[in-house]
């Protein structure tokens, strides 16, 4: 390689690390105490101490569980502010969230089918359209671009006006973006079903169809720019940093990785896994963290534990997460130094992860009694815990010794679900429960279904991850022992693959409950609007429209 180039890059990396260390030092010396006020921008004056969860069966019990005297009623101006914010984002948020839920259902059903095929290969094996090699990429792409991406954008669009204290501007652009994105999804699904694939994992959609995602994503980004310009806050809350960063990261990654005719051979594998891991690390994760950083403080009525720490965690994530991707190719035919760099940064991910963990968990720590009364908090706190677990696990099995065992096995798939499901999906579930009543003005019609959903997905997910991880480790051990025939590494996994199907089925049932409930609240909202319209009371219309 061009030596000067290599030295230059190494220098850049060093400078970035030194910058980060400087930040650590500054934070530890409390250089940023003035920032702490920033943590409070999500609260109106006198609002701290107030518990908020529109799903709570008993708001009074939730409030009492915090163990602090409730503040006086929120100043009407703040409440009106937030109502206006929620109303302004209603259309685009509904489009994104409802589409996401539909894709979630479809994606989970395909996940179960793919899973079942692994231990009962005869199931639906007569047709090429339902062969494992078709169903599996459909599952992943529908989940990644249909569910997680659309839910993430929907939640971000809802958060923005609240964070910036101004109505969402340009919401129509985002609605158009949701439509274009959905067209891309439908075309992409049709393409994969008929075998038109780029053949590269996470990048399967043909590049012509990718254009829909580029356009749709750009349209959805317009309100960010417009609303930022009109913001009425001094300080940008940490959630806003994550949203801004995610919305500049993803388009760059998507275009670089999908551009046709540039990538070749092993270099293509590098781009592939750099992209794939960044979809998780720089797209789903920032969106989920933005939601968690907002919802946890809001629900327990207390600002984030250490605002300075969140600054550190943000920049450390930006520096390290963007470089971990090649740990998917440890032992592969790629230049050793790239692999080593990814291993080092994978381990360094402990910094932002632990900082975030301390921050989020300490915020809720001595108010955990609220978990009993706030369904939203249960989803989000569990999600935040899974972020810690999945990331620490990721740092560990990026180490060569452990990776030798786990690479190429189902263990990796269990890990992927720990992140994309345990963390991202759980946080988005919580966010959807919180935001739907706020933007529709209706209540969740069947509160018990929230608990049913929670029980199903937690049980299913636990079965999924625990059993598949064990199965993967046994598979890896069998494969590393050359005296055991290869088929042993297949046979040893069968009971665990079966257990994964059981867990996945429970999760999917949970998603059916969730989707039905989303349908229910939409129906309730439309009934309320109809009732308000017929009663012709101008005041009521004003409130509900």
């Amino acid at each position: 390689m061009n030596d000067t180039l290599a030295r230059l890059l190494a220098l850049c990396f060093l400078v970035a690390v030194v910058g980060l260390l400087g930040l650590v030092w500054a934070v530890s010396r409390r250089q940023f105490t003035h920032l702490a006020a920033g943590a409070r921008v999500i609260f109106g004056p006198g609002e701290e101490g107030r518990a908020e969860d529109p799903v709570a069966p008993s708001p009074a019990l939730l409030q009492r569980s915090l163990g602090v005297p409730p503040p006086a009623a929120s100043p009407p101006a703040d409440v009106a502010d937030r109502t206006r914010a929620d109303r302004s984002s209603r259309g685009p948020v509904l489009w994104f969230v409802v589409s996401a839920v539909v894709w979630l259902l479809l994606g989970s059903l395909l996940g179960v089918l793919a899973s079942v095929k692994m231990h009962w290969p005869e199931v639906l094996d007569a047709s090429v359209y339902t062969t494992f090699g078709r169903v599996r990429p459909l599952h992943l792409n529908i989940i990644a671009y249909g569910w997680l991406s659309m839910a993430g954008v929907g939640v971000a669009l809802w958060l923005l006006p609240r964070l910036l204290r101004t109505p969402l501007r340009g919401g129509r652009w985002a609605v158009a973006g949701a439509l274009v994105w959905n067209v891309g999804m439908v075309l992409g699904v049709a393409a994969l079903l008929t075998g038109h694939t780029e053949g590269v994992e996470w990048l399967e959609f043909p590049w012509q169809i990718d254009l829909f995602f580029v356009v749709g994503g750009a349209l959805a980004g317009v309100p960010l720019l417009l609303t930022l310009q009109h913001r009425r806050v001094e300080h940008l809350y940490v959630s806003t940093w994550y949203i801004i960063a995610a919305l500049v990261w993803f388009p760059i990654l998507f275009v670089v990785a999908n551009v046709p005719g540039v990538h070749f051979g092993v270099e293509h594998a590098l781009v592939n896994w750099w992209f794939a891991h960044n979809v998780l690390g720089l797209w789903f994760t920032p969106m989920s963290l933005a939601a968690a950083y907002y919802l946890i403080p809001k629900i327990v009525g207390r600002p984030i534990h250490s605002y300075q720490l969140s600054l550190l965690a943000f920049w450390a994530l930006a520096l390290f997460y963007s470089q971990v991707g090649v740990h998917h190719l440890i032992g592969g035919p790629v230049p050793t130094w790239v692999v080593t760099l990814s291993i080092v940064t994978s381990v360094a991910m402990c910094v932002p992860v632990l900082a975030t963990a301390v921050n989020l968990h300490f915020t809720a720590f001595d108010r955990l009694a609220a978990l009993r009364h706030s369904p939203t908090l249960r989803f989000v706190v569990l999600g935040a815990m899974m972020y810690t677990v999945a990331s620490v696990q990721g740092s560990l099995h990026a180490l060569r010794s452990l990776n030798t065992l786990t690479h190429f096995t189902h263990y990796t798939v269990a890990h992927a679900h720990l992140g994309a499901y345990g963390f991202n999906t759980f946080v988005f579930f919580g966010a959807v429960y919180f935001l739907m009543p706020r933007i529709t003005g209706a209540e969740w019609p069947w509160p018990r279904l929230v608990s049913a959903h929670f029980a199903l997905v937690v049980a299913g997910f636990a079965v999924y991850v625990v059993f598949l991880s064990i199965g993967g480790l046994l598979q890896g051990a069998a494969m590393l022992d050359a005296s055991r025939p290869f088929m042993e590494s297949v046979e040893v996994t069968l009971p665990y693959l079966l257990a994964r199907s059981v867990g996945g089925t429970l999760m999917t049932l949970g998603h059916v409950v969730f989707a039905a409930h989303v349908g229910g609240i939409l129906w309730a909202a439309s009934r309320r609007r109809a009732a308000a319209a017929t009663s012709m009371a101008p005041a009521a219309q004003e409130v509900l429209s």
């Binding site: 970035a16 290969p121 094996d125 090699g133 053949g199 801004i244």
Partner: protein
């Protein structure tokens, strides 16, 4: 706008750094790499078979990247010497794969050179390897019709025959072309 712009620029800057390290620099390093003398480009048939391999999703269960014997016993399993970047000179897109639900296939053409074996295995994996969880690909064959003189006929274990469609023949031609047993210089710094 300052704080927002600062965040955006910082975010893009760090991503650009990561991109140049993980993608840009290897791009420059690997671009000049020529194909090894022993590696032949894909024939038209094998290239079509490669498309079929992608369209049928074989990659979700099979890798094509044997590891160094110091790291894992891939060579002992007959999967071949550790691969080097030059081995992939003709590979657009790459098909390295990250799952080994089934064996590594980088040298399957050398390990299993029989076309008939592959056709039967594709038609019914469990007829060849009891307990296999590989999907059957019967839809790549015509069953029951009369075979013409040009047709490739698979004799099924339970009696009866199936005629391989062109897609199946292409796919097998691709599998047979996966033979990287020629010698290469070990990769730079290839310590596991």
């Amino acid at each position: 706008m300052n704080a927002a712009l600062g965040t955006a620029f910082g975010a893009v800057g760090l991503l650009a750094l990561a991109g140049s390290l993980l993608v840009g620099a290897p791009y420059a390093q690997l671009r000049g790499e020529g194909a090894p003398a022993g590696l032949r480009p894909y024939t038209a048939e094998a290239a079509r078979g490669r498309e079929a391999y992608m369209a049928l999703g074989c990659i979700y269960c099979h890798s094509q990247q044997p590891r160094d014997p110091r790291q894992a016993p891939d060579a002992e399993r007959g999967w071949g010497r550790p691969s080097v970047p030059a081995d992939y000179a003709y590979d657009h897109p790459h098909l390295l794969g990250t799952m080994r639900t089934g064996p590594d296939l980088f040298n399957i053409g050398a390990r299993q050179p029989s076309r008939d074996w592959h056709l039967l295995h594709l038609y019914d994996p469990r007829a060849v390897v009891p307990g296999s969880i590989m999907p059957a690909h019967r839809f790549l064959f015509d069953v029951g019709g009369a075979a013409g003189p040009e047709d490739v006929v698979v004799n099924l274990p339970g009696g009866g025959t199936a005629v391989a469609r062109p897609e199946a023949l292409d796919l097998v031609a691709y599998l047979l072309s996966l033979d990287h047993t020629y010698p290469v210089a070990p990769a730079e710094g290839s310590v596991p």
